[in-house]
Amino acid sequence: MSVTYSDTFKEHLANPRNAGTLEGADAEAEQTNPVCGDRLRLALRVRGGRVESARFLAYGCPPTIACGSALAGMLEGMTLEEAARLTRSDITEAAGGLPPRKQHAAALAYETLQEALQQAEARP
């Protein structure tokens, strides 16, 4: 049941980027993996169609944390259109890669992003 993580991945774990919550967020999405119970929360502040700040909270195995960190980190500065074009593998790559059995973490991050973007777009 052993798993090898990359240095980038470990760096996300040791020093997660953009952890926390956001006051006055324009979107606050939370998704749970119904099977394993992993949870990811993503908060965005959007200014002029661009993600000004992104924060995440995560409960679950290390890949969930690393994906949360990678996702929030790469979102800051992106336009909403750019963010909407992100794929699961973009997230995996930014997290430093995931072992085959841990791909569900990127899926969770992706779902959470979609929810957050919907909220952001629904804003006036």
Partner: protein
């Protein structure tokens, strides 16, 4: 980087004295014990000596010891070997719900071949009750297999009492009923005696005793016949085929001898370090739950669930700071496998996922424990601050999350 190994239940480093003992059997004394000539006799004598040493570890006679490739094989040989021999007399096994995956796996395999398996519960203390064993026994039960000490929480089961019960049933006429106990974890932490335990089969593995991985033994009480699993060759009195791994067997013998000599001293040191560790954790980390009875357990083991966070995350965090521990839970695509042992204690998934096993060894030092006590609380805190579960729990306290976070790159 400073490295502290607190995962001795997973495996142990080989004792230098054990390396010393085995080395001659790699190059110079390399004979095959089945050979009639000098080299073979030299190897045979070494295997015989090791057999005596291992037999002494659990108070058996040398010819009651079968060398195997490890604890897993010992368990396979015990359970399958006995059940195949007795299938005509009954096809029912009594076991516990917290056995090692090897015993668990064999029982499942037997179920697929029309055996019935009763899995006894453990309670919040992680202990099997003798009354439950009594109630589970049926006229067609041929095997009770309950581990002596659990590998995740270290709880020590009442094997002597179960042994007395099994013997009583056998004397009352249920003559194929036998007791197997997996003592792989127990061997490093408590004195073993097959007669006091009243078991007919007992498994041990060298690599939990500061000898190399790849060798183990099965105690088979005199007179008990097993269907061999690895067949071919006349080794181990036809009970286990295959050229004996002389160097590993010699290593195991020496490790058994040292264990027997030093057990009490090791256990006492380890227990006091473990106690220092636990009181240190208690005073530094809130929201923890101990898993398993704290009195009836191995001296070197401490299993703690940290609320709001997940074991593997904590494990990796500690690892990045040089501290090696383990968790019984695994999360992989599409399935969560929270430790079945911790679940069996009645804990919910979250607590089962947040459980960490710290297992100390004979060479663990006070400094190492103190280092872990420095690193662990910070790691727990950092993960909790990332945890939406924790945020919810403390939400009402209006905690200023951002400002308190010690992780980098955090804005309010």
């Amino acid at each position: 980087m400073r490295r502290v190994y607190l995962d001795h239940s997973a495996t142990t480093p080989v004792d230098p004295r054990v390396v010393e003992a085995m080395l001659p059997f790699l190059t110079g004394k390399f004979g095959n014990p089945s050979s009639v000539h000098f080299y073979g006799q030299e190897a045979r004598a070494a295997v015989d000596r090791a057999r005596r040493q291992v037999a002494e570890l659990f108070g058996a006679r040398p010819n009651e010891v079968v060398f195997t490739s490890g604890g897993t094989e010992s368990n396979n040989l015990a359970v399958r070997g006995h059940c195949e021999t007795t299938a005509d007399y009954g096809r029912h096994i009594v076991t516990s719900s917290i056995e090692h995956s090897s015993v668990r796996g064999i029982c499942e395999a037997l179920e697929r071949r029309d055996w019935e398996v009763t899995r006894l519960p453990v309670y919040e203390d992680g202990l099997v009750r003798v009354e439950d064993v009594r109630a589970a026994l049926r006229p067609d039960t041929v095997l009770v297999s309950v581990m002596l000490a659990n590998n995740e929480i270290g709880t020590v089961q009442p094997i002597a009492e179960i042994g007395a019960l099994v013997r009583e049933r056998r004397e009352a006429g249920q003559k194929h009923l036998r007791l197997h106990t997996d003592a792989v974890q127990a061997a490093s932490g408590m004195r073993l005696d097959v007669d006091e335990l009243g078991c007919d089969l007992l498994s041990v593995s060298a690599h939990k005793l500061y000898a190399p991985k790849g060798v183990g033994a099965l105690y088979v009480r005199r007179g008990l016949r097993l269907a061999p699993q690895n067949v071919g060759g006349h080794q181990e009195r036809e009970r286990r085929g295959g050229t004996e791994s002389v160097p590993l067997i010699v290593a195991f013998g020496e490790a058994a001898r040292l264990t027997r000599l030093e057990l009490e001293e090791r256990a006492e040191r380890i227990r006091s370090l473990r106690d220092r560790f636990e009181s240190g954790v208690e005073s530094r980390v809130a929201d923890i739950v101990y898993n398993g009875d704290r009195a009836r357990r191995l001296p070197g083991l401490s299993n703690i669930s940290f609320r709001f966070i997940e074991g593997e995350g904590l494990l990796i965090n500690l690892d990045m700071q040089g501290v090696a521990v383990s968790t019984g839970s695994a999360c992989s695509s599409g399935s969560l496998e929270p430790s079945p042992v911790i679940r069996a204690l009645g804990r919910d998934d979250e607590l089962a996922r947040g459980s960490i096993r710290f297992s100390l060894g004979k060479d663990t030092t006070e400094e190492e424990i103190d280092y872990v006590l420095e690193v662990l609380p910070r790691a727990v805190e950092n993960l909790r601050r990332l945890s939406p579960l924790y945020q919810k729990a403390v939400g009402s306290r209006q905690m200023a999350v951002g400002s308190a976070l010690r992780v980098k790159d955090v804005e309010s």
